[in-house]
Amino acid sequence: MLSFTRIALAGFVLTTALPALAGTLDEVKQRGTLSCGVSNGLGGFSERASDGKWNGFDVDFCRALAAAIFNDPNKVTFTPLSATDRFDALKNKSIDVLSRNSSWTFEREAGQGLLFAGTTYYDGQGFLVLRKPQVTSALELNDTSICVQEGTTTRLNLADFFKANSMTYREVAVASPAEAIKALEAGRCDVFTADQSALYGEKLNLAKPDAAVILPDVVSKEPLGPAVRGDDTAWFNLVKWTVFALINAEDLGIGTDTLDEAMKSTKPDVRRFTGAEGGFGALLRLDNDWAVRAVRAVGHYGEMFERNIGSRSRLGVPRGLNQLWSNGGILYAPPLR
């Protein structure tokens, strides 16, 4: 009797323990849908249309991931998360991946046990300047009035940058970006400083957006990318190599319009990408055409960028740092081999 209970107990422990041991990929496959944490609304990155459909750069990354796994970019459930909730949602497993304009920092990895699967967007603090004084560099902003949001790291970065370059400025503290735009239009400040990705959105709120420019300089590092829990290396690799696949696709010239041509290519690096040789999909426990599926769903990195935030979008963010390493930017993905 005792031994029977023991066996039953052991069986119970075993069955409950199994799902816990199963990796994120198994859970995702079992569920039949990827659970993706996104921003609750950030122009170009994550927006919900009136018909309930999610759009944006961060959203598209999760679609690419879903396509790589299920060959269906629509097998994603999006969970809008606030800045304070985002990492807890990842830690308590209510999402599989966080694709929500989050900066890759030391503390978030070493302190919170998360891992960033690469950088999808190199953001940084920039400057929105009314076109009147024809400045082309942040180093020409000496002796200007600068609007900056209170209680942010932006404010400290601003002080550091001006001190380091022996320049002076007059700080105009504002409570919100909207207030900064008003102040700019009323002439209370000449410059508004915030993260560049936000500045492109705010610029559209000016009465005359063309009257202002965003300087190409960034004075802080804000590498944004998808994050996962640090305890599942297989899942981490899958997400990371999906980022790299999108960048490598652009590097190799594989896009939505050249996919069919790529499938027939005789070049080894293209054939490894399409899965025609190498059999690399199996190493991620996916089908061998996983990378092609991702590109078919959202295009290569450049297409994803231009459509959501770049020259083909409302925001018109230039590629800048987010250009391929070979084209003057710093995007560089390790080779798929």
Binding site: P216, L252, G253, S265
Partner: protein, 203 residues
């Protein structure tokens, strides 16, 4: 002129999907569709520049090991970069060679000319026999307002009397800019300047 250029640009934008479609149809049909004549005699003004969109002249972030003053041409993106100090470049939209007429390499600006004459090279005459054998420089000349000769090649960076073709692959291997833009570039690019021509990976 401004509105005509803009509407022509819009028209090109609207047309391009059908062009892409035609491209897929057959190689022969593509040659027909893409072979936009050089239209000698069509007038474009010195002021014609690309005013908006990615092909407008603009200062961009551009990391490069090339010294300032170098011209970097990306044929597949249809951009010409004039490298400037401090990780910057002035970027111009260009028209490039049609398929089979793209090339890459390293050359120098060996000659600069204002309102250049046009003597289509024999190989171009062979392909397009209707072209004039010689045309004096001027507003109706397909060479446009300025030309920068590249090494000892038959290719040049030049203006155009068809600014609406900027952003397309239609030339015989030359790089064309709107007249206002080529005048701007001409004033900045020095004789002997290094010109790097690149195109993206082939499948």
């Amino acid at each position: 002129m401004k509105t005509t250029a803009a509407s022509a640009l819009l028209l090109v934008g609207l047309l391009s999907p059908s062009l892409v479609h035609a491209q897929a149809a057959s190689a022969a049909a593509q040659r027909e569709t893409m072979d936009i004549g050089d239209e000698p005699g069509r007038i474009s003004t010195e002021e014609a520049t690309i005013k908006s969109g990615p092909f407008a002249r603009q200062l961009v972030f551009f990391r490069s090991n090339e010294p300032p003053g170098t011209l970097v041409i990306h044929t597949s993106e249809k951009f010409l970069y004039l490298v400037m100090p401090n990780n910057r470049a002035l970027r111009y939209g260009i028209g490039v060679g049609r398929e089979g007429f793209t090339w890459s390499g390293l050359v120098k600006i060996t000659r600069k000319a204002e309102w250049p004459d046009w003597t289509p090279p024999p190989e171009m005459i062979a392909r397009q026999p209707y072209l004039p054998r010689f045309m004096a420089g001027g507003p109706g000349n397909p060479m446009g307002a300025r030309a920068m000769y590249l090494g000892s090649t038959v290719y040049r960076i030049h203006g155009t009397n068809q600014p609406e073709t900027i952003g397309q692959s239609i030339s015989s291997g030359c790089f064309r800019l709107a007249n206002g833009d080529v005048i701007d570039l001409y004033s900045r690019a020095a004789m002997g300047a290094k010109v790097v021509i690149r195109h993206s990976a082939q499948l």
